[in-house]
């Protein structure tokens, strides 16, 4: 089955790329929190829940939002859209924050609003809530971006008619180091209305190229 990437967003090295276009670049990078807030404001996303999210959720949420701004999934049923995300550090970035609230017994203040983010799949939950996505979803952890693994899983879903569209890729966040590549994969042959972007074949080589050269 031929599948295509019909929209993608890559956020890394202090820049945001959507479908080959540089949307944002921060020359004077201070930290991730400042960077992502600046992108959020520039893109006028207007979703107050964004501020409550942890860093990895903000990163994945924003990358996905930009993918779907460029290419709508409104035509699909909620159940026909799936999400397969992966990263290297799981939720370790937030795990450290939760650990800091409990490591001193004289200053013990664990908080549900931090603890809930100590699971990597929460970013999928945030994306599902915003975009009303109810289909198959999974979060995987691998040392580095593994396009073959992503391909095997996504391809199998389409082959078995479990999905008509899939958001997939890499959402990595640790300290101030981040890298997100979110791709929208759809079946070939569907009318393509994004004039500025020619869809890319969904395969391991192309995914590698997107990850390394964009």
């Amino acid at each position: 089955m031929e599948l295509t990437v019909t929209s993608f967003c890559h956020i890394h090295e202090n820049k945001v790329i959507v479908n080959d276009n540089l949307l944002f670049f921060q020359g004077n990078f201070i930290n991730f929190a400042d960077f992502i807030k600046t992108v959020y404001k520039q893109e006028q996303i207007n979703y107050p829940k964004f501020y409550k999210m942890d860093s990895v959720s903000k990163l994945g949420f924003l990358a996905t939002d930009l993918v779907l701004k460029a290419r709508t999934i409104a035509g699909y049923a909620s159940e026909a859209v799936g999400i397969i995300f992966s990263n290297s550090s799981s939720s370790l970035d937030t795990d450290v924050a939760h650990h800091e609230t409990i490591c001193d017994r004289s200053n013990y203040f664990p908080s549900p609003s931090v603890f809930v983010y100590t699971l990597p799949n929460i970013v999928i939950g945030e994306v599902c809530i915003k975009h009303k996505i109810k289909g198959e979803n999974a979060f995987l952890v691998s040392e580095s971006f593994d396009p073959q693994m992503i391909f095997n899983i996504v391809h199998e879903h389409f082959e078995n008619n479990r999905m008509e569209a899939c958001l997939c890729g890499w959402v990595e966040m640790m300290g101030n180091k981040f890298n997100a590549l979110v791709m929208l994969v759809e079946k070939d042959g569907r009318a393509h209305d994004t004039a500025s972007f020619a869809p890319i074949a969904f395969n391991v080589t192309k995914m590698k190229e997107l990850f390394e050269h964009n």
Partner: protein, 395 residues
């Protein structure tokens, strides 16, 4: 749906459960049949400043079993070089893999690890010097285990909250059916740590007494330590009753990150899809192993979903009253227990249940009994709004 039933079957050829109730599936199942719960009050400053009611595996027992077994295997590293969780997983995998006859080093063997927090206890001061910080990374944990067993394929790691175990089984089934692998070793494990206990306490989700799934007087969940392994294969195991993973499905509520769906529609959709993938209808389901965490909202949502899927009359239990909520292990060890119910035609009483405390009727098993069982449904739901369902069938 296109000819799903014609795909090659995926068999459950061996399994293991490690919990407070034993180090093998057999030991655990005997204790379940005797309705013995492993949930106790533990006063241990390593876990919590105050006493905590959990199902915990005895540390000395882990150490002595691991030392006895691993140090007899002539590996490069002694048992002491492995963390608490790694020791448990190695013991679990060894038991299941040995009885399966599958060579874990095989080229067509996939290893999937399901865990929520892995070696998260390595963040603690007391563990910092003994182990490399890298072992906090779940892929490094998986690699450590894969290396121990001499595996050649890169392990796959699923970390998908409380449905991780069912997702791992789902992935294994699908990738075997896609022809990418012939066998899969699916392992799940999570340990009790101050990290997780403090978090659930902050949610005020922990019950002061052993949890009571679906009961009127339920007061929240009990956490538990657990580890389990399921070996899946495209070839049936000789000389045993054949069980297959007949259907699986995953969905998302798209409603709230820490609370379940108000309607149960999304879990119900996953249940329906898994039944249809198995080529069955709701009347074919003989037994449900529910998620049943005993939080007010989970059990309420789950019973709604079961009702929506026309399964209200099907006998149902939750194993959480015996093992507590074992997080990344739950989907695996509860599936293994459900499969053993099928093998033995025996339904286990749902521990902690007396009076129905959910608004939608469900048929909670209130005493052990024999029953003719061919097909069961396993459900799971978790933070992030995720739901999973799997169908196991006796051939």
């Amino acid at each position: 749906m296109t000819m799903l039933q014609q795909k090659r079957p995926v068999y459950v050829v061996a399994d293991n459960i490690i919990s407070s109730l034993g180090f093998t599936t057999g030991e655990n199942f005997v204790n379940l049949k005797n309705n013995i719960s492993g949930i106790r009050v533990h006063e241990d400053p390593i876990l919590s400043p105050a006493p905590v009611t959990i199902s915990r595996i005895d540390t000395q027992e882990i150490t002595s079993r691991a030392t006895r077994f691993m140090d007899s295997q002539n590996h490069d590293r002694p048992a002491a070089a492995y963390t608490r969780l790694e020791k448990l997983i190695i013991l679990s995998m060894h038991d299941a893999v040995t009885s399966s006859g599958v060579d874990p080093r095989g080229k067509r063997v996939l290893f999937i690890l399901s865990t929520t927090k892995g070696n998260i206890d390595l963040l603690e001061e007391r563990n910092r010097t003994a182990f490399n910080h890298r072992r906090l990374y779940l892929w490094e944990l998986a690699r450590t285990l894969g290396t121990y067993f001499g595996m050649q394929n890169t392990p796959m790691v699923i970390s998908n909250a409380c449905i991780s175990g069912v997702v791992a089984i789902t992935m294994a089934k699908r990738l075997i059916q896609a022809g990418l692998y012939d066998q899969a070793i699916v392992t799940g494990g999570d340990i009790a740590t101050e990290f997780v206990i403090s978090g659930f306490q902050s949610f005020q989700a922990l019950s002061p007494e052993p949890c009571k799934p679906f009961d009127l007087n339920r007061t929240g969940l009990s956490l538990g330590e657990g580890c389990g392994t399921m070996v899946l294969s495209a070839e049936p195991a000789p000389e045993q009753i054949n069980i297959i993973v007949a259907g699986t499905s995953i969905s998302n509520d798209a409603n709230h990150i820490s609370g379940p769906s108000r309607t149960g529609e999304e879990l119900s959709a996953a249940i329906n899809q898994s039944i249809s993938e198995a080529g069955l209808s709701p009347t074919d389901i003989h037994y449900i192993s529910a998620h049943g965490t005993a939080t007010p909202f989970n059990d309420e949502m789950e019973s709604k979903a079961i009702g929506l899927s026309h399964l209200a009359d099907v006998p149902l239990n939750s194993y959480k009253g015996y093992w507590g909520h074992t997080l990344g292990a739950a989907g695996i060890i509860e599936s293994v227990a459900a499969i053993h119910s099928l093998r033995e035609d025996f339904l286990i009483r749902s521990a902690g249940f007396e009076t129905r405390g959910v608004t939608t009727p469900v048929n909670v098993i209130d005493r052990n009994r024999r029953a003719k069982l061919t097909t069961c449904l396993k459900t799971a739901s978790g933070f992030g709004g995720c739901n999973a369902a799997a169908i196991y069938q006796k051939l």
